[in-house]
Symmetry: C2
Subunit: 523 residues, 2 copies
């Protein structure tokens, strides 16, 4: 009697429920349009029907290239409602980078926002695959709207809850983006955990500052929907616009990297909000001065920690009531910790090279390791990389941290050389690979240096082949032509590279050099 006591866990079912229970309540506010939950569910199923009409079968990949519009949110559930697999693309990527992903994922349909149509079409031209392109929005004919209106609603329930829901491409250390495989069960449970910890409910008005393409928006497309809250769309994270929406849309919650919070605090429009807004931040610990400023603005900050591989926030700095008593600095120090596994997560571990837990002494460094229902199935078509990332079934995050005696984890450094700038991962190796494509460059090493606004920015160190000569500006321009601009080094130092006896470049030494050089000049 399986059907009696078993329903496969899928995030689609949250919208199915909310469409019944909150049918006439608003689900999405997108520019001048508002969709009720009944309308949202209908459009989602029409999208599923439209994709079926385009020949997308179960398990086939559908890519989306869009800012945080209603089309992006519709895709979050609509692709899987038809059993397709969602590939949400970073809007800051260059055409060549997008093409690589379209090919690796084997994408058959690309939904693209009209503002990104050019780069989308360029990517398709460069790709091996030949996806059908559907353009949404724009001033003229809205192809997406027309096709949606013509499509019959379709909903095919997933049978295996551990089947593929989405691919989230992330820059690994190798510089080749890897497709992180999300499963229905994981997204369902993670969405519940987010709804629970953020206390989302019918009164929630959620502002889409966090890109929905980023780890499927930390599963908030489904968490806010499960709660019956309102999604308020936002095309671009411009502080002025965010401040406007916070007030005009009576926002209760938003997610954002600390750099975004810093921008908000620095904006001309910044003034204390009448009602407290809950900001969930991650990607880097919020600084004490930032937290103090947020307090003044009536923005309460929670600190979450996770990776693309963990459906977003696997951990949170679960705030204990007794910590309210501390001084502002003590509170900030507490809140800078990455914390503990969320309510559906397995325990977050800090392990040594043998995979054994380090002592919980707040001092012994180890690598943060996670496992469980909110961890990816693996990297798409990269079995070896998957095995390497979880040699014993525990996913190694690449983050070095300590375990405090109270069970809270605090990051101390990154094991790998990923640079996190403005909440986005930059693979140093990917940038190095481009630099060494320049005829004048022999060797290149890229490291992150701290930056007040972006968290980190990349700085390059290169050696030139004897007779050749090249300027730093030339190399920066060279990278900007080939990669998303945020990945380009802020400065380039030409000279010898320090190496270990075995010939490995000593990035730690370069990092120190870059830090000293940038000094107070990091604004």
């Amino acid at each position: 009697m399986d059907s009696l006591a078993f329903q496969p866990l899928s995030p689609v079912s949250f919208l199915e429920r909310s469409a019944l229970v909150y049918a006439d309540r608003p689900a999405i506010v997108s520019e001048d349009r508002t969709f009720t939950y009944a309308e949202h569910w209908l459009r989602v199923r029409q999208l599923a029907g439209m994709l079926q009409g385009l020949g997308v079968g179960a398990g086939e990949r559908v890519a989306v290239l869009a800012p945080n519009t209603h089309m992006q949110l519709e895709s979050s559930t609509g692709v899987s409602a038809g059993r397709g697999v969602l590939v949400a693309l970073n809007v800051r990527l260059q055409a060549g980078e997008i093409a690589t992903i379209l090919d690796h994922a084997g994408v058959s349909v690309l939904l693209v926002d009209s503002a990104l149509e050019d780069v989308g079409r360029k990517a398709v031209d460069q790709a091996q695959v030949d996806p059908r392109v559907v353009v949404a929005g724009g001033d003229g004919r809205d192809e997406y709207e027309d096709m949606l209106a013509a499509a019959d609603p379709v909903y095919v329930r997933v049978e295996d809850e551990r089947s593929l829901l989405s691919l989230n491409y992330t820059s690994g250390t190798t510089g080749v983006p890897k497709g992180v495989m999300y499963h229905h069960r994981g997204a369902y449970l993670q969405a519940l955990a987010m709804a629970y910890h953020a206390k989302l409910d019918l009164q929630t008005r959620y502002l889409w500052t966090l890109p929905a393409f980023h780890t499927n928006g930390w599963c908030f497309p489904w968490a806010v929907t499960a709660a019956g809250g309102v999604h308020v769309c936002l095309r671009a994270v411009v502080p002025k616009e965010v401040w406007h929406k916070l007030e005009s849309e009576s926002i209760t919650h938003f997610c954002a990297a600390p750099t975004v919070l810093t921008s908000l605090a620095a904006a001309e429009e910044a003034r204390p909000l009448e009602r407290e807004v809950h900001a969930l931040t991650g990607g880097a610990p919020p600084s004490p001065s930032l937290l103090r400023r947020m307090d003044e603005l009536n923005i309460r900050v929670s600190h979450l920690y996770g990776l693309t591989e963990t459906f977003g926030p696997a951990a949170l700095c679960d705030w204990r009531p007794e910590w309210d008593q501390g001084t502002p600095d003590e509170r900030a120090e507490r809140l800078s910790r990455q914390g503990v596994g969320n309510v559906i997560a397995e325990r977050v571990r800090v392990v040594d090279d043998n995979g054994d837990d380090v002592p919980a002494d707040g001092d012994t460094l180890g690598q943060v390791a996670v496992r469980g229902n909110n961890v990816m199935l693996g990297y798409y078509r990269e079995e070896e990389a998957t095995r390497a990332a979880a040699p014993d079934g525990w996913f190694r995050t690449g983050d070095l941290g300590v375990m405090h005696p109270d069970g809270y984890v605090e990051l101390r450094d990154r094991l790998k050389d990923i640079i996190i700038s403005g909440g986005e991962n930059i693979s140093s190796i990917e940038v190095e690979n481009v630099l060494t494509q320049h005829p004048a460059v022999q060797e290149a090493a890229v490291v992150g240096v701290p930056h007040d606004h972006w968290g980190e920015v990349p700085v390059a160190f290169v050696t030139t082949g004897g007779s050749e000569s090249v300027s730093g500006d030339e190399l920066i321009a060279f990278v900007r032509e080939r990669l998303a601009h945020f990945k380009a080094p802020k400065s380039v130092v030409v000279g010898d590279l320090p190496k270990t006896s075995t010939g490995k470049i000593q990035k730690n030494v370069l990092r120190e050099t870059a830090r000293s050089a940038s000094g107070g000049d990091s604004g």
Copy 2:
């Protein structure tokens, strides 16, 4: 790589997490003792070790007969931590009723509170099985404590999340108690749903007014633990004591049938609480006058609906912010509806005799039907009854209701003749079967009549065999000797029974008769 992205869902993992994350925070306050989460988890694992020492293997049944003490709560998780199956017994049952359950469940260990030792031992004497009895508490030697202290902690993770967690015996319409089979996955998800909807968190101080033996306390043993809240034990639901605890223990939440709320409202100690307390009620809709009184006392009431077969509340009257604007009567009317499926539930249906949905017109009667992850696996060792209860995979609740246009369900009547008195089910057939055991009684019919305090009370109609004669008091005493006292009829009417042409007793006629007779005299 299953272990990477998969952890079987089990409510035990909530305590495992809270013991790590909230180790030094209080978990249980039980009379003069307080246990931290680290201590609670240790004791739970020691209980698992103790049961292993007594030879309890995976899947073997362990019964508990106790009020809401720490032992009861320890059993809620400790039995399953050792892979045993929990059978929590109703403390109001008579020895013979308990013996029936011990036999049906095949219980090998009985944990009994010292206050219930007599009835427990009598039950064991009458049973075919011969469980080892362990007595907890009391003035002298505390066997449970001694054995716990001597036991090594054990924790065996469940492998199959749909394996048997507990058996919850409920009186069906047949009068023979049926063992409702709970699974780990269902209890995990239902506990998450309860934590989410009740907004349980680290600040939660939960008073155990709802018997933990009743549908495993609506999964609150695990929900409160998942949230890291404090369980405040309560041996008996005496209004004076409840009022004392609400204040002295700074209670934030409790669950109780409307009858309990009525007692609280009527108590001498009743006065408005300084901080709002959230009461979750179910078993019957709270009346407008009760809700008004609760408002005055600063007790906010949520209305939940479920059955033993649905892990407790499968539905809730999900309160919409706009309803706050209504008059007190409008609000009470809204809140009297059973509502919509909870966040992890499949939709609650109202179906006709063919299993098709009735129109959502707020008028067409049908039977309430449910299915999904928070529905039982079936009735233990009663395959036929399980099939009959869910002929098409949808469990028929036996409740008649209507579907409102906004998707909210409202009960109108009970299809079966279960009488709900003080939140407890009374099977009319079970009582009838006892009555007809009396030599003077030929036929018996028992119906429920509304009662201000208990919700309903049973009233019996009997015919006597020609020459025999018997008084109502004699028959009431006869039943009280054989069944829990609350099951005994409040009054007995001797006389002819109205019947249909096919000879079926017309209970609807009797119900009308009893109602008119009880009239204003229902206090």
